[in-house]
Subunit: 213 residues, 4 copies
């Protein structure tokens, strides 16, 4: 009536925080390999489970991805938003964001990598786009808040709003890319960005070399 091969849960096994281990593993793998190339089986194996067990926590690959995405977005947003909120002017807000993202990247680089990686995956796969429609523009929102501040403090002309937002987006995107490419490059690009922003926004031009550790 029952097969000779053992089916069912094996005896002697109980490990907590499996859920978090799954998320951590998935985040790293999604970041490194992207959505398509990351198999559920591999995530499960790296987290110490069978793929079937993983389905106990997330009902589908897409759901797993969404969960990871949400977690990353939240962590990113919490840090950057807090940083931006501590500053009062446009200039300070931008620089605070740079600082915060640098700290986050140093603290847990995978969050940043995943975020960069996710951008292309989401753009490529309509299913992900659909599943993530809500809250996927936090990035733009953040930029808008900062630029709005700039306009209201008089640092920026209202006319320049769109262009500044676009430039800021491009710069932050580019910094994210360098973070994914090479740690040293990222550090230098950050230094350069601070320098340039300082020059443009405060009118003083420093020496780049002094800024890089």
């Amino acid at each position: 009536m029952t097969d000779s091969k053992r089916r069912g849960r094996p005896p002697g096994d109980a490990s907590a925080d499996t859920a978090q281990r799954i998320l951590d593993t998935a985040r790293r793998l999604f970041a490194e390999r992207g959505y398509a190339e990351t198999t559920i089986k591999l995530v499960a194996a790296r987290a110490g489970l069978t793929s079937a067990a993983l389905y106990h926590y997330h009902p589908s690959k897409l759901d797993l991805y969404v969960a990871v995405h949400a977690e990353c977005r939240q962590r990113f947003l919490a840090v950057l938003d807090a940083a931006q909120a501590t500053a009062l002017t446009f200039t300070d807000k931008v620089l605070a964001i740079l600082d915060a993202s640098e700290r986050l990247q140093a603290d847990d680089p995978i969050v940043g990598w995943f975020t960069a990686s996710a951008r292309v995956d989401v753009a490529r796969r309509p299913e992900l786009q659909a599943a993530l429609r809500r809250g996927s523009d936090w990035w733009t929102q953040l930029c808008r808040t900062v630029v709005d501040t700039g306009v209201s403090t008089g640092e920026l002309r209202a006319d320049d709003h769109a262009v500044v937002m676009a430039f800021l987006s491009a710069l932050l995107l580019g910094l994210g890319e360098t973070a994914a490419l090479d740690e040293r490059l990222h550090a230098r690009a950050l230094a350069g960005s601070r320098l340039v922003l300082d020059a443009v926004l405060r009118g003083r031009l420093g020496r780049a070399a002094e800024l890089v550790p």
Copy 2:
């Protein structure tokens, strides 16, 4: 296999035509969906062939990707390098590159998209990395050339070489990203970049709004 047809292609040669159609189709699909999600069958179908027939032109998916990549790199490099070569100073070279990339993007957006898309795919897949090792750093090379010029003209301090290169890389990468995301965003980010560079490099600050069409 495609090399012999490239120059002096006889008019009405169906084979050369097919070869180019394959490359065009593949470029677009690789750009839109990435490497893993693009199937040989789909490329073939869109190009009007069977997948088996495609193997007459490219011996494997990876080879096809490499071919597309090489073609794009060459086209990109030709344009940007020519543009940079016409200018004499760092400042002018950078602005020339911006102009040229904007023209290229307007002319054939897919080349730009593919380039952005390829970055992540290559980073993700070791096989691609291995196959593309040669010539994959043209990007860095170009930046280096330009920054070198800046140092030799005295526009930049030698100490700042690395930081400026990193900043330039980040900015150009970010602009590439915006190009892939949204045409208008890209246009504005370009305008903003010109403005900022002008301000930093020439010390004059214009109004952003005037630059956007």
Copy 3:
């Protein structure tokens, strides 16, 4: 496991309640979807348990099926056999069976559906066949009893025994099918059957239309 609770079940006993709920749910699902398509998890969920909990009541899916099957057979047999026993002649016994099956169907249609559904499932799966070998021919037995009576009362020739049994089986099977397909169709088919049997067995031919409600 369920046997002990069956008679004299103490009022308010949750366990016996659960057991019956499981059987009811399973009967309906097995009837509607068949054996393979009915998952233990779904039965459990509909009965308000976990699938693991269901295993406290039935040690395997097959056992659950067997339990449902036995229950249905018993209920069916009890009704039909009682009905048949009240009549003395072949003709009356057959008509009594038709009446009784109609009442049963009206009372709890799922029992009939399950019985029809079970026939194919058992025929399809050797495991079920093996597990149900005992008592799975109650159907034939019932027919035989009735036909035997016909022979002994002189209504049927002994030579015709086999053919009449086969015809009766076919007709009852067919009626069961119509019951599963459509209620109205079943009602009409029953009416037609009564008419035809009356004509053949008693030599009087009525109007069909008068028999259908």
Copy 4:
């Protein structure tokens, strides 16, 4: 670049009529095991292919089923409709259908089995229902045609139309069931049916035993 294990079509293999072999195998397996229990892999193996190769002929399991279903329906309908068309009265048409179905069953029993088996599978699975909506009522249509004839020839009262159709359906369904259960039972049930119909429709009652081979 290519794996060590051989991928692709193996050398030295070319067999025609694969398509028909697939249909034959699938018909038998679907008939014997039903939809859910029949795996694509098994069909393929029995037909001498890999499951992947089967997808070259039918894009999904459901499509394969639909193909088999259509083929069976067509064969069934062709035979029964031709038989019915040769007769002019209701009585003769019904008996002709019985004869034809008996011949078909003797000729290729699997068609009949599949048809009986398909009924429950289609009823159970909404997907099949949806896919087969067109032409799934050929059965009813055939009955209607025959009964219509009976009314127009005066053999049946118009009032009895519905009841006769229902009875005929039930009887034919039941005969189909016996065919699936046991060959001898089917033969006897057919004989009994002829007898009963003759008695009811022509008013003469024969001896059943003479009709069975």
